[in-house]
Amino acid sequence: MLLRIVNINKKYISGKAYFQALKDISFEIDEGEFVAISGPSGSGKTTLLNIIGCIDKPDSGEVILDGRSLKARTPDELASLRREYFGFIFQTYNLIPVLTAYENVELPLRLLRRFKEDEMRKKVEDALKKVGIYEMRDRKPLELSGGEQQRVSIARAIVKEPRLVLADEPTANLDTENGKNIVQIMREMNKNEKITFIFSTHDLLILQYANRIISLRDGKIVDDVRK
């Protein structure tokens, strides 16, 4: 088992009002799964992914990654976990605007500080080729279309061969065709590279690619279906 989520609760407070984003969420993810988290807007998908990816903390409950609890970790330890374990794909791509496509993909390897220049070049080029964006490697994000930017984002997520890729609505800003392409690329990575994917979406067309769908509503799991 790669990931275990145990009784996660999370609420957001704004003044005197508060919003319960997640309520007693528990599930497990095995290595190699291609999991979709579905649900309407505000159902808690992004919050759940953020907690899994160690970029947000639950109010209660526990995330266990590779048998190790993520409770009481320092910011630097959490940063280290994110560097080592996770690849991230965002709805708005979140590429660094001053860096080229190549440099954006190279960034996670630079942060890991364990690869030689030659190794890095090979990994980055491989990743760019896998997502079919190699020819555009010298372009900056603003010189790329949405679909191309998301491909760069995927290359950035997989370049370091992470154990788990978290994708928050990766197709939400794309048209149907581009969305399908992106999910197909992710699926290929999952099959070929054995990378575990957890992605959030409310797009039914995309959901058909998942081999497991966890449905959320009002912060609760209402369904957990394996195909």
Partner: protein
């Protein structure tokens, strides 16, 4: 580190206008600093040279009874001066000496009177210690006549050949003697022009009725070693007091200290300009890059690397500002170094005593150590200035930062 450096470089070129604006403020401050400090150094150096060449010399030997509070008293006179002169001829570090007798008095042209310092000097030897004859702009030395400072001549409407009375105290009585003005001196040291009247030392001794002098002014082979030389002379020759230029130029050196404080203030002022500019720029930059910071943190960048990234950006802005300031400041300053500034016509300094012993055209002189210190401190301050906003940015929760809509 190389990656962070290149990343920072790309970041500062992204916001070109802001980078140019912030570094321009630093550059302008550096330009002003270079020009002002070089001008002050020019003033100081020329002033210092004038002080030595026209006033203090390197050292002065005076009577053991010399009282600094009553410099023109007859009791101060050195009677054994012939013996002292014979002795100092033996010191090989002494390159020149001249005898002086000084007393105060009043110059009177029958219309106006003015207090003056009357200097009896040895016209044969004075130029071995001071720069004197080169600045006699009208007339020449005459054993029976007097040479007056340019300002005195101007104020009292005196020309060469004019007849004036000098009134002074001789022993216990006041004496007034008529002299012909044989020359006018215009010295770069304004004190000479304003206050001094020169005559032959033998004439001076004669009218005072004394066979004594006030002091022997000395030029040595190295003025920096004068404290040591003064000690040697004091040990070898009894019944004299030896004053080196550090003691003689006390008020001038106090002014120099004030100048050093002024420079410190200037450096501080520039550093503050850089500091405020960069704090502001970094705060805006952090605010604008919240989402980007969130992405970097999500990808696993450590907080200290994010801080470092911003600090490198600040360092680069400071560096660009300082280098630009150094280039343009040096080009502008070159004019003042080569052409100088005419103090009399441009500033009216002749009428204002600001403590500097300078007149006429003064050329700026490069104050390289001070400019280097100011440049390095500016870069350091601008780098430090980025720390607080950078730290604030690095401490942001990634989830919060990613929620920012930009």
């Amino acid at each position: 580190m190389k990656f962070l450096f290149l990343f920072a470089l790309k970041n500062i070129t992204r916001q070109k206008r802001r980078t140019i604006l912030t570094s321009s403020v630093i550059a302008i401050a550096i330009i002003f600093f270079i020009i002002i400090t070089s001008l002050l150094k020019g003033f100081y150096d020329v002033s210092f040279e004038n002080e030595l060449n026209f006033n203090t010399s390197h050292m002065k030997i005076r009577s053991i009874k010399y009282d600094e509070d009553k410099p023109f008293e007859i009791d101060n006179y050195m009677k054994n001066y012939r013996y002292v002169i014979e002795r100092i001829k033996n010191f090989n570090f002494i390159k020149g000496f001249t005898e002086i007798i000084s007393f105060n008095g009043e110059i009177d042209n029958s219309i106006n009177t003015r207090f003056v310092i009357i200097m009896g000097v040895n016209y044969k030897t004075i130029d071995s210690v001071f720069v004197f004859k080169d600045f006699i702009i009208e007339g020449s030395f005459d054993k029976e006549g007097i040479i007056v400072g340019k300002d005195i001549a101007k104020d009292m409407n005196i020309d060469t050949g004019s007849s004036v009375f000098l009134t002074f105290r001789r022993k216990d009585m006041i004496e007034s003697i008529e002299f012909i003005v044989s020359g006018i001196i215009s010295s770069p040291n304004p004190l000479v022009n304003r206050n001094y009247v020169y005559m032959d030392i033998e004439k001076a001794k004669d009218i005072l009725g004394v066979d004594a002098i006030t002091e022997i002014a000395i030029k040595t082979d190295d003025y920096n070693r004068c404290d040591k030389y003064a000690e040697i002379i004091g040990r070898e020759i009894k019944d004299v007091k030896v004053f080196n230029w550090v003691i003689l130029a006390k008020d001038f050196l106090q002014m120099a200290q004030a100048k050093a404080k002024g420079n410190g203030f200037l450096i501080f002022f520039i550093a503050i300009i850089g500091f405020v500019g960069v704090v502001n720029t970094t705060m805006i930059s952090v605010y604008e890059k919240r989402r980007e910071i969130g992405t970097l943190k999500t990808l696993g960048m450590r907080e200290k690397d994010i801080v470092l990234l911003f600090l490198i950006e600040c360092f680069l802005i400071g560096l660009i500002g300082v280098l630009t300031g150094l280039i343009f400041g040096s080009i502008l300053n070159l004019y003042f170094v080569l052409k100088g500034i005419d103090l009399v016509s441009k500033t009216g300094f002749e009428d204002i005593n600001v403590g500097y012993r300078v007149l006429g055209i003064v050329k700026s002189r490069w104050d390289t150590p001070l400019i280097t210190i100011a440049s390095l401190l500016s870069i350091l301050f601008t780098t430090i200035a980025g720390y607080i906003p950078a730290r604030k940015g690095a401490k942001m929760e990634p989830a919060e930062s990613l929620r920012v809509i930009q």
